[in-house]
Amino acid sequence: MDDGQRSAMLSMARHVEEFWQHVDDGELRLQWCRSCDRFQHHPRPVCRTCLGDDLTFRPIAAEGALYSWTVATAEFGSELVGKAPYAFGIVELDAQPGLKMVVGLDLADADRFRVGARTTLEIGPVVLRDKALVARLEAVE
């Protein structure tokens, strides 16, 4: 296999690429099944509830709660050299119980990093992408 074939194999699936296209356009849209009226994330080639492919990307309310978080201090791989520390976490969205996504966290909010913290997702820069999802956290009492 030559490099060209290899990189073709590594190209993103269309549904993964589409997620980022919406983010680049400034919108949080997740894959949604018209038949089941359900979101799924990560996006998949078929609906994991009905196995249908009547799937589209639909806006979703960007509110939720922080499920877990970390501050990465070690740098793995050349892309991350000089980038640590940086933070990311998992947010569970209010719009559909159990629907979770990995998102960036702002180290300026570090004193608010707590499991259960209320959050709103915004589109902003993260460690390796100019436009991605960043969780803005409310203080936990």
Partner: protein, 384 residues
Amino acid sequence: MTGPVPAIVGVGYSEVGRATGRTLLELSAQASRAALADAGVDARRVDGIVAHCFPHQMVAPSVLGSTIGVDELSFMSCSVDGPAFSMAVSHAVAAVTSGACTTCLVLRPVLRAGAAASNRAEAAQFDMAGTMPLLTPYGYVGGPHWAALYMRRYIELGCATEADFAQFAAVQRAHARRNPDALLTDPLSPEDYLAARMIADPLRLLDCDYPVDAASALLVVAGDRAEDIAEIPVYMAATSFAALGESEFPLVPDMQDHAMHRAARRLWQSCDFRPDDIDVAGLYDGFSFITLQWLEALGICEEGAGGKFVSSGATDLGGSCPVNTDGGAANVGRRHGANYYIEVVRQLRGECGPRQVRGARTGVATNAVGVFAGCSLLTTEPVN
């Protein structure tokens, strides 16, 4: 199960080190030879070979069979997806129990160099769901990062403290210091743990296993033949496996109730043993929190009490349930699941010298966490 409960009659390791200069095939042949010698079984009697490998570090069973001189195989498999060594164990148990083969080598070869993907092509082989492009922009690289996310939640939900993890590292090192095969044997205090480099808060360097070149092997036979082969056969009274309907570690529905907990429940459902029967445990420590979660999932300690249980001394030699008496993968190196099986077998045979758990008859060996997990109940009590 349709046939007699299978038994482990041989265990063995290859040479092990940070850079052995050996190929995966050389290491696999060494480990196979060691397990066969331990069992006193000629390679020509082997009729099954199963291996679990990283996708870019595959050892083909047909090639290994040809290398060690098998006569003919009636079963083989090579898994690249699943809970490390226990995936191969599951295949061996299924094959031997069904009669597909009678005498099965179970392998887990791994090379330190390149065990973590070192380029995009290798990374893509690990990215079986094709979803890493949704994660890598956040600096997420896999293992240590999902481990940090599970561990953070585990701590914040009150199941363990940083001090409990420090104690866990010290206890494991104390075990390792009684094991001549351990690689890391310098004294280690809880303070040393706390001073170790942070990888991804709260995960420190000493929460991680120690990457090495190694191959490990079991020889598994149909249980009714075991007594003719081994002085003390170790019966696999139950083996269970579970994979969730979610393949991405950070996105499992519940980080406190995942594949491990399902595999543990199924283990107890499929045998007549109870958590109280466990004399010694080998609980996966690819990352330290995983061992603590297995203690809870198996019911060795109460739910939410993994940290307290370790800090109480219960997992020490002389405690109510000594855990990872070889020192765990943090100290013997990443055998990727096999060391738990091999150490528990050696304990149940009474071969462990200064680290022997006196009178140990029944133990448990476990692998993995999150999206998939597997475990086996091992005993010297005749169960057939």
